[in-house]
Symmetry: C2
Subunit: 459 residues, 2 copies
């Protein structure tokens, strides 16, 4: 391992953490409009950080939603170009009362930094900036050309990035895309993610009578929208966790024997996961292991349901409406638009009597997978192994980063997903945090990666 | 019809309406603790009104919850005693934005008075007080002894009335109980309700993992509490609206041929009901008419459901919890405690994998039915016919007034349910109102009833 970079990061650790805390203090929640100015403030914070690192042509580029921050260093003439993607927006923080320290007051406890965005994805985006800053400070130059594309709408499905990338194909053109927004396998076990699930999302609104009714006077006379919704949702999945929407699995690439064996070789501890989540038992589509179910099998989840009385005690009401929010995680080669259409068709065929149903489509993203034997991925593997002193795991991931597929499709470049978060760091949940062991080792790994990649791409 | 009482009520109409408005201005919502003082204020208003009417021994009697108001007139020595029950508490007003005039600012439009409680039950309780006041003013005495028992917890299931009645059996002892808290069949068609459904209620809390999870990372790994709840609730009812809980219908008294024919003879207009409610279609237990389903068949309704994300857009979360509130309307001879036990047993047998379920029991009330040919009911029928000049309908009602069964069981007396509200007057919903035609005719009917009952009980 390179001792110069190691010394550099040790020397600058307090400054780096103090800067990261600054970024984490900005409540850049992209989903909630009252935080619009904070999102913008985070974008400007990123530009300053890029400039300080030595990036040029840094700009905050407006979109129809939150802006994208761009910056580059293009002085390695004739050399390849690396595009680094990250996002500076974060998830909402509710239920905020479950946080042990306030979500936007970063707090270091037990060598972990607690704050919304600590891991997903401010912490990891920040590391990419600091790695290049270090190389420029140490070497005076970078091994090849770099471009940053850091957006502010990842947590709301990147509604404007597709168009942004399409309109700026030349500006963003590169030979490889690197993203750190995926987790390690577990503490001490780095992983490179070679596939991400896609996403589609919709809302179901069930309407019964014109207003709420007294359940005594009208109970038995009319359909109850909650019952109707329950019946409809239950028709979408059987007790074995299989989705029963016609055609849902039609384009799912079957799990190959090799993949199955590779997953088994990871020795994933399902019992530990169950214990950690305090789940009564693990559960999912029958016939698959937990890893298979979360990595290479699609899901349909109800993310929210509401209707009628939610207060204390009893209200004898037949509500006029009931609602559900659904997202599906998709795998190659499912098409998000087609899956939503299948769900809509299922709803049309299964609408219970006595109610009307309307459907809102929300954002979607395609699933994505990249070959394990690609040289940019193998170089990342070697970098991890040098720093963590253990073989890297090649994994898939259940989450969706729809823009990965966008970049891959529009810019025609390989994507390397090398993350430093741990799976139990509560992304999207209260008490999100980032283990500083991976902050420290991650900075070294990124520097090693650029050296390794230089050897690979220029040999 | 008695012209003296008619003249009396015409002369005093403005004063009576002005007094009623005073009562309707008090937001005596028993379910919400911030209105505790208002509920108490309403109780005191009732005492003053009873005293003004000529009642004696008037007192506000504290309970563990909201107080009961008692008052009597016991100067008809050797004559029978009538107990009048009513309630001065009202339902919550949410969603308050759907009211055309504020719920506690009574407004007369189109010969209807709009306010929370106008019909259920302040308006009708007030009429009973004014009817006796009129008779005392006109005749100087009442035909027999009267007792009032007016409570403040009817809308939260009368949790303290059972004990109250049990402890004051002698004070409340009477020969007949009269209650006006049930609707007429429709405008111009008075009805005497000879049966009420009972009620049982519970809450289901489904718990999955210790916290909310990212639906990408964990989707497929664990049971989703919303799916589990949906599956559980759907197992309780089939697509024909029949409740599929083992033993649910075991003690239901089958509908007799005579009852079926009597219901059919009412010529109930299902189409008009559907249109008025703006329901896509009417729906309920297969094999029964709408009247049968709402009057003599039990129901199981989900009154509220909630879990996960309810905001705008999408949140890719697997929630840690999901909740549902259920009430059943029960008919003779179902036992509320037994039905809740059957539901609990069903839940235990149908709990989906990967979640734990806890159940909270809320209040319950027994179903009740009284013979149509009882002399006190027949006298009420004649009183209605004199004033409304049309035969009275003998109906059942789908709602529950659990205290009816309490009085019947503890005091061993027949119950006459003679109401003056119309079914579309939005009890428990925004824009509750009371048609003043039935305020005017109701006062006359009550006076006629006491004359008729005197003839019946003393002959």
């Amino acid at each position: 391992m390179n001792e110069t970079t190691q010394n550099y990061f040790e020397k600058n650790r307090e400054i780096h953490l103090s800067e990261l805390k600054e970024l984490l203090r900005i409540p850049s929640i992209s989903a909630e409009s009252q935080y619009k100015d904070d999102v913008s403030q985070a974008a400007h914070w990123i530009t300053k950080s890029l400039q300080k690192a030595g990036m040029e042509n840094v700009e905050v580029i407006p979109t129809d939603g939150h802006p994208v921050v761009y910056g580059d260093w293009l002085h390695a003439e004739g050399k390849p170009t690396v595009l680094i993607y990250g996002h500076y927006d974060v998830q909402p923080v509710d239920p905020v009362e479950l946080w042990d320290s306030p979500p936007f007051e970063p707090d270091i406890r037990d060598n972990r930094i607690y704050a919304r965005g600590a891991s997903d994805d401010k912490g990891q985006t920040f590391m990419h900036i600091k790695a290049l800053e270090a190389l420029l400070q140490i070497e005076g130059a970078l091994p090849f050309n770099f471009k940053f594309c850091i957006e502010g709408e990842e947590e709301i499905g990147s509604p404007n990035l597709d168009r942004f990338v399409a309109e700026r194909k030349e500006q963003l053109a590169a030979d490889v895309l690197v993203i750190s927004d995926t987790p390690m396998l577990e503490k001490g076990r780095p992983a490179i993610c070679t596939g991400l699930r896609g996403l589609c999302s919709l809302q179901i609104d069930v309407k019964g009578t014109k207003g709420d009714l007294h359940s005594g006077l009208y109970g038995g006379a009319v359909q109850n929208p909650i019952h109707a919704l329950v019946q409809l949702l239950d028709s979408m999945r059987n007790e074995d966790g299989q989705i029963t929407i016609d055609g849902f699995y039609d384009h799912v690439t079957p799990l190959s024997k090799e993949e199955k064996e590779a997953f088994e070789a990871l020795g994933y501890d399902e019992g530990a996961m169950q214990q950690e989540l305090e789940a009564p038992e693990l559960f999912g589509e029958k016939g698959y292991t937990t890893l298979e179910r979360t990595w290479v099998r699609p899901t349909l989840e109800v993310n929210g349901i509401y209707g009628g009385f939610q207060g204390e005690g009893v209200k004898t009401v037949i509500p006029a409406e009931a609602h559900a929010k659904i997202t599906c995680r998709l795998v190659p080669d499912q098409d998000p638009e087609e899956v939503v259409s299948l769900i809509e068709k299922h709803i049309a065929n299964h609408t219970p009597k006595g109610v009307t149903i309307t459907i809102k489509r929300y954002d979607s993203g395609r699933p994505f997978a990249t070959p394990i034997d690609h040289s940019a991925i193998q170089a990342a593997g070697r970098a991890y192994e040098k720093v963590y002193e253990t073989p890297v795991a090649f994994t898939r991931m259940g989450g969706s980063v729809p823009i990965v597929e966008t970049f891959n499709r529009l810019l025609q470049l390989p994507v390397v997903l090398m993350g430093f978060g741990l799976p139990n760091e509560n992304f999207h949940a209260p008490n999100e945090h980032f283990h500083l062991e991976n902050f420290d080792k991650g900075l070294l790994t990124l520097c090693e990666y650029w050296y390794e990649l230089e050897r690979t791409l220029t040999k």
